[in-house]
Amino acid sequence: MKPKGFTLSPPRLILAIILILVGAISIFFLSHTTINFTGTNWTSIGLLASGLIFYTGVLVIVGMFENETMLSIALLLPSIVAVAIFVYGFIGWSIRVSFSKWKGLNPDYTWVGLKQYYDLFNHDPRFVIDVRNTVVFTVLFILACLILGLGMAILLDQRVKGEAVFRGIFLFPMSISFIASGVVWGWLMNPATGSRTAGINLIFQSLGLKSLISLWTTTKQPWGMAFTVIPAVWQLAGFTMALYLGGIRSISDDLREAARVDGASEFEIYRYVILPLLQPVTLSAVIILAHMSLKIFDLIVALGKGDIRLDVPGIYMWTTTFAANNYAQGAAIGVLMLLSVAILVVPYLVQNMRSETEL
């Protein structure tokens, strides 16, 4: 146990008092006035800053106690409070809204139990489409990313010249926004025909590959939805590749050499030595990719431009809440999205925490 004493240091006490006073006075001042500067209302930001100044004063006093655990917790407290409110508090609030019949601009918290959820699954064709689209998207997206990512990683593992260049090319789309990607791919996958033929279809046409000309996302559903996976794979296959390449490179050369000595072919080395060892990488990749696809939103907004056949829960939640003011239904969709992600992520996080604690 550390000694839990208290050392009074006059200069620090004076500093603490000044900080607390400055913080308190500006909080008092700001709560009675507003600050406008360059057209922006800074009052709330000012209040937040004043609160932090005040709290810094408190921290200086806490620091005078010779108890570093207490100081550590006190320093973490603002972040903990922020996450507690903005993540857990807001989730709780959303759940409460989803149990209400709030529709319209004025909050209505009348309790209706699970009615919103029941209606979504039983009386809402749009939500049924959303669920189907999410399943189609998630399955194809994960499969394509894993296969392409692993394939690219194995190819790059063959001591190819210009490996860094290829890696860079496969990975750069990750740095682009889903919106930008959706806009460009929307043009590349242009379904127009005749004299308006454009994008990739135009390339197919000029190469004489007429049979490859596609209606893209306007193909009969659910296959149209399958095409929305292309830009998503374009953006995240490189990420999956990087995960796999990291995994392959961390397997020791001795192990491969031993397999080679035992007479295994290069193919067998991958099949029986490397692939089994990559299972944890696959698990991480699946969890990361699945949680992204379960909440896919901006890509479909940009790509689908409101096409209801390409709707996903993220978009439905957005429109029903902020265009139709159906807050209760929007909250229910949001909570369902959270549940689908939580089922996947919580076990992973718990396992991660356990292995940390054992260390």
Partner: protein
Amino acid sequence: MTRRIVLKTLTYLILIALAFFFLLPVYLMLLTGFKPFNEVDLKTMWALPTTGIHIDNFIAGFNQLAPNLANSLKMVIPESILSALLGSLNGYLLAKWKFKFSNLIFTLILFGMFIPYQSILIPLVKFMFYIKLYGDIPGLVLVHIIYGIPITTLIFRNYYAGIGTEILEAGRMDGASLMGLYRYIMFPLSAPSFAVVIIWQFTQAWNEFLFAVILTNQAHWPVTVALNNLAGSQLVQWNVLMAATFLAAMPTLLVYVFLGRFFLRGLMAGALKG
């Protein structure tokens, strides 16, 4: 021997074909952007410009997006710096000053980076409205900082966990306190992690759409919202749109090209393997 050569050739052919697939969208954006207006035609959209390189389309695209590019910059710069400072402090405390529940608290914080933001959107909007931070850039900055706490804390915590405790114990011998150790030992060692986190947060916030579209009004739209709006407009020609899309993507692309090493590390941290 011939079999090896065939395999090698095949490897390169597949890699080059894949490279074409990955570069196609960028090629289209640049190609269209560098054509003069009078050469813009759907039928020749894949043809190289015949009368030299012009930047008419880029200028037109820039004129469409200039205020929004400025909004995005105003948001992203304070956001990424403040996020990194906060994450660094949290990471240090959670890596080096473990108390009874610190692993649990860390895990609870971490969960925040996986949630679909639709599940907190209604309370968030009401709350931001209530504290009068709805509609403008400062509110968006605050929201990005708060929802950035998990990832920034994670990256810094993993980085600090890798720094041996010997150096801290040596500092304690010299009488440094908790904050003294941070300020004089850990903080000066954190430059690589600051690069990773600032770049990561910069990219995330620049590319983010949901918070931006919900929490800002039209005058303060960041570039993603404006670009999406532009794409849905019937009044904008596709060639201008392609050039504008490239401009919207350019800042993060440049960051990737020049600082890709750091970007990749942020990416890997998201996979939780520190």
